[in-house]
């Protein structure tokens, strides 16, 4: 509860920041607030605070809340230029923070209505943020597309909740789970579960419900894309896991094959499509979808309590994505808005920090040992093999090999070519965030246990 109050308080404060003349130091206030959020989560550890039967701050929620806050802090620092050159400074700050409130609700809901509210609170600010580049047509288009399709997904979710209510007579997770485990699932409950699955798969952009993602990711301002690919994805996966591990836990036999199919489809479609992209932003968007495929495998194996693995995967993925997207944005603005791989040619001669950290995060995302991304994928694969999904692990391996192909296209462009473009200079805070991301990834690759063992 305190966590939610803190973040919404920050949101309200940011609305007033113009009035209170806080504009200059506001980033610092937000970062301190998020650090406070992490502190509160640590203090609440093991307390299992029940918030009026609506939210349950268990360790799962708190751990994901910490990961969300860590990504958000990294994101806020990296996106400082997005806020600084901005007339709607306080609006954008508050939209992001309110979106995070929705995220927090999603992480911890214990009542279906909160799931619905969480998703809405998370998404509505995002619709605005995606379109915040008001003068750009593609940004507007992305916002519109996201809104329309998001509304569809919401309808699916609501319909699903209604059917589940019809089948069990309750909105409470625990009651629903108890009712469902009494006997074999009836058609109404099964349909409800299926509809909710579709809605959640839409939110995490898993195939075949991923079509919105490339366009929205490409059209949105890069920093907002980074926010969606990291913070939003983290909470969406957490909610997905929470829904299907606890509430629908007894229906595993029914949904496992669907999960497996979604994971396989996502891995194949995303990786093959990413391989032919020449626009780096779109490439990163498809890579983000392909990572959703890997995380779907972790979801699939949830019988073995893979929440720790999911947590680790999400954290590693978020950190490398934030580094990648912010470097992309820096390079894009320095190359007259070019988003092609060509813009990255010879980046090592223009700025070795940018090229180095970008290569580092790409190596991590493609799962090259000993990077943290490799550990994450390794854990996911062994979980899959342990659960008898050898074929899925093999598809995953094929997917990673294709991923190596497209990530290395960018690496080759950066390191294997000369460039006559002017060198790029970066600010101290940009350098700081890049080094922080790289160090974080190194630490995560050496001590994965620190994260994984917190859960499960």
């Amino acid at each position: 509860m305190k966590e939610l109050l803190l973040i919404s308080g920050l949101g309200v404060l940011s609305l007033l920041s113009g009035l209170l003349n806080l504009r200059k130091g506001f980033l610092l206030i937000v970062i301190l607030g998020l650090l406070g959020n992490i502190g509160l989560s640590i203090a609440d550890w093991n307390l299992n605070e029940d918030v009026y039967g609506m939210m349950l701050m268990d360790n799962f929620a708190l751990a994901f809340n910490i990961v969300m806050s860590v990504s958000a802090i990294l994101w806020f620092i990296s996106a400082s230029s997005y806020f600084n050159n901005d007339n709607n400074f306080s609006d954008h700050f508050s939209l992001v923070l309110f979106s995070m409130c929705g995220g927090l609700v999603l992480l911890s809901y214990s009542n279906m209505s909160m799931l619905f509210l969480g998703i809405e609170i998370l998404s509505i600010p995002l619709f605005v943020l995606v379109g915040s580049d008001k003068t750009k047509l593609s940004s507007n288009e992305a916002a519109f597309k996201y809104f329309l399709l998001g509304a569809f997904a919401t309808a699916f979710l609501l319909f699903g909740i209604a059917l589940i209510y019809g089948a069990t007579g309750s909105f409470q997770n625990a009651t629903i789970a108890a009712k469902l485990s009494e006997g074999p699932a009836n058609a109404m409950a099964f349909t409800g579960m299926l509809l909710m699955l579709v809605a959640m798969a839409f939110k995490v952009s898993a195939a075949p419900f991923h079509f919105w993602a490339p366009d929205v990711y490409q059209g949105a301002p890069s920093y907002i894309t980074a926010f969606m690919a990291t913070v939003v994805k983290t909470v969406a996966f957490a909610a997905f896991y929470r829904l299907f591990s606890s509430t629908f836990g007894s229906m595993q036999a029914e949904y496992r094959i669907i999960f497996a199919a979604i994971a396989a489809l996502t891995l194949l479609i995303a990786n093959f499509t990413a391989a032919v992209q020449t626009n780096v932003k779109r490439l990163l968007a498809y890579s983000s979808i392909s990572h959703a495929g890997f995380m779907m495998i972790a979801l699939l194996c949830m019988a073995n309590n893979t929440s720790g693995i999911l947590l680790y995967y999400v954290l590693v993925y978020s950190i490398s994505s934030i580094a990648a997207f912010s470097i992309f944005e820096i390079v894009r603005t320095q190359s007259n808005g070019k988003e092609d791989i060509d813009a990255f040619k010879g980046l090592i001669r223009r700025n070795r920090w940018l090229a180095g950290v970008f290569a580092f995060s790409m190596l991590s995302m493609s799962g090259i040992p000993p990077m943290a991304g490799f550990m994450a994928k390794y854990l996911v694969f062994t979980a899959a093999i342990d659960n008898g999904y050898m074929w899925l692990a093999l598809i995953g391996i094929v997917g990673s090999l294709i991923a190596v192909y497209y990530y290395f296209k960018v690496i080759i462009a950066m390191f294997g070519h000369e460039s006559d473009e002017a060198p790029i200079s970066i600010t101290a805070s940009q350098k700081f965030i890049l080094v922080l991301c790289a160090l974080g990834l190194i630490a995560l690759s050496i001590f994965p246990n620190l994260v994984i063992n917190q859960l499960g």
């Binding site: 090259i368 490799f374 390191f415």
Partner: protein, 482 residues
């Protein structure tokens, strides 16, 4: 402790070089590589006096999934460590007057590579071995991508994908054996025990998966297609690291991880691997004969030698293993020598196409002499290091498979053909317009070659130093298998 130091010194030096090396790259790099060599000798002393406390480190890392940070040095590891630490200062020294851009980054990457290669030589945990094995790939990829020649983008990519693809099979096999261990452990002894209990056919599959990874790295026909081009575009220090040190990871891995883990698989199906290796020897030797470019010739001759080593390892008896280990060391030294000769010629002539050269001996007879000794060693003349290894190898292989041995023996004859022919075309005959401009070797180049030649003759006359290091470990290994 010493074993850990062997890994940490290169890693630390590489960080130092990246961070502060811009102005003192050579000094830092050379000092660090010599310090590393000194530690290697201290380790050798500890190995020979049996001070296990100094060598063995076994700490939990990801304990709940059976991964430990377990490193140890025995005779076999020691020889490999000596090879890489011995060559490192030499490779550094050889590159001193060569004007590479961003020298500190180059050296930093080389140290990163050395650290991970040594890590793979001393790792006693399957997962750790795999990690070190893969880490080594990243620096060499960037070395070739940033300092390589024409068309390096495509060539390095093929190299990277190829090797990564191969090692994934190794990873799958490792995980498979790991899942068979009773308490889910990657420890080497647990993996040995689990592997030996597998039925023969499954052992053969595990063997095949490992061999695929190793065959690509060595390389062995038909998995060699990445190698000639990669060697060709790689800058000289990079190619020296690749062929001198990195290819030995694969042959070492065969000894350490395959022979003791799936002995029955080797016994039943090992002949397939021997046949592949022998084909590789003959194929590469014949191709070497028709090569026009000296660098390609070295690359193909390297395939032939690695094939011989691999056949000897699979034959799996005391002589063939000792021979293989000796040959790994000799091949490392000789190939660095050959690539340095190439570097000397290419720097002066701007080409390594043999037909265009000729008569260099008349211009610099001491260079011709030193080069000739390296050639003799490559063709395994007695009193050179190449002889000892190949002799033992072929005796050992003969015991296991006489036909294979007789074909493998052809490699020596074919080696004479291509090595002498290339020597003849480049060094003897008339001086032409191009080679007239061949300037004498500098002092630094001479010293490098003299060190190499001294090693060649020293080890050829007194191979006992090397054989003594590995003897007891090879015995232990063979006893474990039987």
């Amino acid at each position: 402790m010493l074993t850990l130091l062997l890994i940490l010194i290169p890693l630390f030096s590489s960080i130092m070089l990246f961070a502060f090396g811009r102005n003192h790259a050579k000094a830092i790099a050379f000092t660090a590589s010599v310090a590393e060599l000194a530690v290697a000798f201290a380790t050798l002393n500890a190995v020979q006096t049996g001070q296990a406390a100094l060598l063995n480190i076994d700490m939990p890392w990801l304990a709940d999934i059976g991964i430990r940070f377990h490193i140890n040095t025995d005779g076999i590891s020691m020889l490999m460590v000596l090879l890489s630490t011995l060559l490192m200062p030499l490779i550094m020294y050889a590159s001193f007057n060569r004007n590479y851009n961003n020298l500190h980054t180059l050296y930093g990457l080389m140290f990163l590579m050395q650290g991970s290669i040594i890590g793979s030589f001393v790792a006693m945990d399957g997962f750790l071995f795999y990690l070190f094995w893969e880490i080594a790939l990243i620096p060499i990829y960037f070395i070739i991508l940033m300092w390589g020649g024409n068309n390096r983008q495509k060539v390095t990519f093929k190299f990277f994908i190829y090797t990564l693809f191969g090692s994934l099979f190794m990873l799958v096999a490792l995980i498979y054996v790991y899942l068979q261990t009773p308490d889910r452990s990657f420890d080497i002894q647990a993996l040995y025990a689990a592997g030996r209990q597998l039925p023969v056919v499954e052992q053969a599959w595990v063997m095949a998966a490992f061999f695929l990874a190793f065959a690509i790295k060595m390389p062995i026909f038909p998995f060699h297609t990445w190698q000639p081009d990669t060697y060709y575009v790689a800058p000289t220090p990079g190619v020296m690291m690749l062929s001198g040190i990195m290819s030995k990871m694969a042959t070492y891995g065969l000894i350490r991880w395959v022979l003791p883990m799936v002995p029955q698989g080797i016994e039943e199906y090992g002949y397939i691997l021997i046949v592949l290796s022998v084909i590789s020897i003959l194929y590469a030797s014949f191709i070497s004969i028709v090569q026009k470019d000296f660098k390609y010739l070295i690359a193909y001759s390297s395939i032939a030698h690695m094939g011989l080593i691999s056949a000897g390892i699979i034959a799996c008896n005391a002589q063939s293993l000792q021979g293989s280990l000796m040959e790994m060391l000799s091949h490392g030294i000789n190939t660095v020598g050959l690539f340095f000769v190439f570097d000397i010629i290419f720097l002066r002539m701007g080409t390594s196409e043999m037909k265009q050269l000729g008569g260099i001996r008349g211009l610099d007879s001491s260079f011709a002499f030193l080069f000739f000794i390296i050639v003799l060693s490559v063709v395994a003349l007695p009193f050179t290091n190449g002889f000892v290894g190949e002799f033992l190898l072929i005796i050992g292989l003969f015991q296991a498979n006489a036909i294979a041995a007789s074909f493998a023996g052809l490699s020596i004859i074919l080696g004479v053909v291509y090595m002498f022919r290339s020597y003849q075309t480049m060094m003897l005959g008339e001086t032409n317009q191009l080679t007239a401009g061949f300037t004498k070797l500098t002092m630094q180049e001479k010293i490098t070659l003299i060190i190499i030649v001294t090693l060649i003759i020293g080890l050829g006359v007194y191979p006992k130093i090397v054989l003594g290091i590995t003897e007891s470990s090879v015995q232990t290994l063979l006893q474990g298998i039987q």
